[in-house]
């Protein structure tokens, strides 16, 4: 008999060094928990995140990718997150167009002071990924039917 393996999602969170990564640290020092499925990658700015990285994560088996940066207008580099906003809007729209579930990708603006928001966002996102289950589509788009 096959044993039903419990679904443990793999979730990659890209966090900008100046706001969201600090927000994540604040969540930590405030002991605000969120699931261990979330693994954070530190980048200097959300605009450093190439859509390629997100596709790469999905192709390697990630079930969700979330990108966090400073609030628009508060970017440490003045304008970085404005480009992020356009790029990600386009990427998410394309993924949706290809039939990939919308909930698997997300952009959130989390400031260095928003530890509570960071933890809430991660809890919500992980819950959404549990709801969506394993990501098969994006790894699969080119497989022969």
């Amino acid at each position: 008999m096959q044993v039903e393996k419990q679904f443990k999602p793999k979730i990659v969170a890209f966090c900008c060094n100046w706001c969201s990564y600090a927000g994540a640290d604040l969540a930590g020092s405030s002991r605000l928990s969120y699931p261990a499925d979330v693994k954070i990658i530190r980048v200097p700015c959300s605009c450093r995140v190439n859509p390629l990285f997100i596709l790469r994560a999905f192709e390697r088996g990630a079930d969700g990718v979330i990108l966090c940066g400073c609030h628009p207008g508060d970017c440490h580099y003045s304008t970085g997150n404005y480009y992020t906003r356009r790029r990600m809007t386009m990427l998410f729209s394309m993924l949706d167009y290809l039939g990939v579930e919308k909930g698997r990708t997300r952009v959130e603006w989390v400031s260095a002071a928003e530890g509570v928001k960071f933890s809430t966002v991660m809890n919500n996102f992980v819950a959404k990924i549990y709801e969506l289950g394993e990501n098969v589509k994006l790894g699969d788009l080119r497989c022969k039917k």
């Binding site: 261990a36 693994k39 980048v43 994560a57 390697r60 088996g61 990630a62 440490h76 970085g80 480009y83």
Partner: protein, 661 residues
């Protein structure tokens, strides 16, 4: 081949309680590339650092992974440790297993699993790290202060006192700013000119200070330590170094209908004029829009009477370019325009004035010779009404959302001075709140009420309108719950202040960020209040937010200290995590240039040898001193020619792969 050492910190029980640190160290030992792995109670302690240093030496490590607290906490510490052991400091990666692991997870199994994944990701990254060497850039030992009010003068004096050259650029013909227009200052009631003019003279006589009055910043290039600034010296039509300031020209000038800016247009001045008696420099200037000679080529009287032969009707704007190491913004403020507040009849009634206008009226050098009179008929007023918060704390779109901060105190000052000099004049103040935080401030306000019997009415004014030769103020007394219809002779509006309109223009030249109210943003509201987030730009005075004189002087001094800290360095160490363009891959498309917020990317035609093909190509070149390492360009570049050192495409993808394994 990389030889990596992994160091897992317990952080006492902070990490060890929810992460099995020994297991993490054990698992990491078996990872490819790892030649040494250990754990220790406090890696950041001297003993912990010694473990790292010894391991680097003993195992000939080429890179290290420290599994510990956030890199925001101790990355710098461990980089120094590595450096002391002879390893390039950028061969260090931190796995954040405290803030982002042990502190948020309760289950030890789960925490340990996650810590291992984070350690693997750090390992994957460090395997691709390359030694980076921080660049150095020189520092031009000269500062620029933009704005010659009390803020700018104080910053310049402090910088000059420390022995550095400093230039002041002031757009008006004289330095002195708003403070030179004030009559008395609170809470001590000393004469503004008496305390300001000596400072103005000091600034003029200090050999380290160069004044560029009647000048504006035209263009700013460069970066911290190396700003290149183009200054426009507007034509005065008077040779600054020849004019003796004798004033003979002003006596003879037949064009007398110009509004006297110094007196806020309350009286007239000649076309050639010296703004006020204590102006620095004490040099005349011709208003070209008013001068008959310049407009119609007639007259020329001033030239005839000028013994020094200082008049030059053909003078043109001049441009000078200078290098600076640091720039202080001290662009100051203005009262807002009242054209959206028709209810106060400011435009129609000459007896409705702003507080700054009252300063000029009260001043012995002002339009009325210091006599308090109604501007409409020159009569002595018997009743004066002050209205507070005109345009401040206003979110309706007509005014400013913030509190202008100085109005409560100067209104108390005005009320008191009037009652002191003219005890027959009744003074009323309509207020919403009286805000007097500051040393001796509340005592000052209470004196106005208790000693001088100034009538403070809690409530606002709905409208002001003329009736005969009086004014009628319709207001409310909120405490009595009564509407007040009050006959008065003069109304004084405590008008909100706003940053000078040049601030936005200059801030964008400097790439200094600015808030929605056009105040320059500080690098940190609490911990770095006199610096802009853009390196090398410092803030002095009201350009950063409303302030009174003592606060302005304090901030000016603080900004000067920050400037000195910068100028006293011979070299600045630059962040080595900057973008780098691979010439062989660059298409020359300029997209990266579009997104760079620092103007750090230029294009050059270069002779490229691409595997034997030699040709001239247009390629991107990154100015490493300007680049701040955000990475916007790297994503824009479709060919991947642009990459960010320390956060390369390959490194980030290696982390992704490690996490998703």
């Amino acid at each position: 081949m990389q030889r990596i050492g992994v160091f897992v910190c317990w952080c006492g029980s902070n990490i060890a309680a929810t992460v099995d640190v020994e297991r993490v160290a054990q698992v990491m030992k078996n990872e490819p590339g790892v030649v040494f792995s250990t754990d220790y109670q406090y890696m950041c302690s001297e003993a912990g650092q010694a473990i790292i240093r010894n391991a680097i030496a003993e195992h000939k490590l080429t890179g290290i992974v420290v599994c510990s607290c956030s890199p925001r906490m101790h990355e710098a510490t461990f980089r120094k440790t590595a450096q002391r052991a002879g390893l390039n400091p950028y061969m260090v990666e931190i796995a954040n297993i405290r803030e982002q692991c042990s502190w948020i997870h309760k289950d030890k199994e789960e925490g340990t699993e996650k810590a291992i994944v984070l350690a693997r990701a750090a390992l994957a990254k460090v395997m691709l790290n390359a030694p980076l060497i921080a660049g150095q850039s020189s520092v031009t030992k000269r500062a620029l202060v933009i704005g010659g009010g009390i803020a700018g003068i104080q910053s310049a004096l402090d910088i000059a006192d420390a022995g550095y050259e400093v230039d002041i650029v002031e757009k008006e013909p004289t330095i002195g700013g708003k403070m030179s227009k004030l009559d008395k200052t609170f809470p001590t009631l000393d004469c503004s000119a008496c305390i300001l003019t000596p400072k103005m003279v000091d600034a003029a006589q200090n050999e380290k200070i160069t004044l560029y009055t009647y000048s504006e910043v035209e263009e700013v290039k460069g970066f911290v330590g190396n700003f290149n600034v183009k200054i426009r010296r507007k034509a005065r039509y008077v040779k600054e170094d020849v004019c003796t300031g004798c004033g003979a020209c002003m006596q003879k000038c037949p064009s007398k209908k110009g509004l006297n800016e110094f007196n806020l247009g309350l009286n007239k001045r000649t076309a050639i004029y010296i703004p006020f008696a204590q102006a620095i420099p004490n040099v005349a200037v011709i208003d070209a829009t008013q001068c008959i000679k310049i407009k119609n080529n007639k007259c020329g009287l001033c030239d005839t009477v000028c013994a020094a032969k200082a008049i030059d009707y053909n003078q043109q704007d001049e441009f000078i370019e200078r290098e600076y190491g640091a720039i202080v913004m001290a662009t100051g403020f203005n009262p807002i325009k009242l054209d959206k507040f028709n209810e106060y009849s400011y435009a129609e009634c000459p007896d409705v004035i702003t507080s700054l206008e009252l300063e000029r009226i009260m001043n012995a050098a002002g339009p009325t010779g210091g006599k308090l009179v109604k501007m409409s008929n020159g009569e002595h007023p018997h009743d004066i009404t002050f209205i507070q918060c005109v345009g401040s704390r206003d979110i309706s779109g007509r005014g400013k959302c913030y509190c202008s901060k100085i109005c409560c105190m100067y209104t108390a000052k005005h009320a008191m001075l009037i009652r002191d000099k003219y005890p027959d004049v009744n003074v009323h103040v309509f207020y919403i709140d009286v805000r007097t935080p500051g040393k001796n401030f509340d005592e000052f306000y209470r004196r106005a009420v208790e000693e001088y019997s100034v009538d403070y009415i809690k409530g606002q004014v709905g409208k002001v309108y003329p009736e005969g030769d009086h004014l009628v103020v319709q207001g409310v007394d909120m405490l009595a719950n009564e509407q007040i219809i009050h006959k008065t002779d003069m109304v004084v509006l405590a008008t909100a202040i706003e940053p000078d309109p040049t601030a936005r223009k200059i801030a964008s030249m400097l790439t200094a960020s600015i808030d929605t109210n056009d105040f320059i943003t500080e690098a940190h509201p609490k911990l770095r209040p006199v610096e802009s987030p853009t390196a090398g730009i410092f803030l002095s005075g009201v350009c950063q937010g409303p302030k009174d004189i003592p606060e302005t002087v304090a901030q000016a001094g603080a900004a000067a200290v920050k400037v000195l800290g910068l100028l006293s360095k011979d070299k600045l160490v630059t962040n080595p995590c900057v973008s780098q363009s691979n010439e062989l891959l660059c298409n020359g498309c300029s997209m990266c240039q579009n997104v760079c917020p620092y103007g750090a990317i230029g294009y050059e035609d270069k002779l490229i040898n691409d595997h034997g093909i030699r040709e001239t190509r247009r390629v991107a070149v990154v100015n490493e001193a300007l680049c701040q390492g955000c990475g916007a360009c790297t994503v824009t570049c479709p060919s991947g020619a642009m990459d960010l050192k320390g956060f390369t495409n390959k490194q980030i993808m290696a982390e992704v792969d490690a996490i998703c394994k």
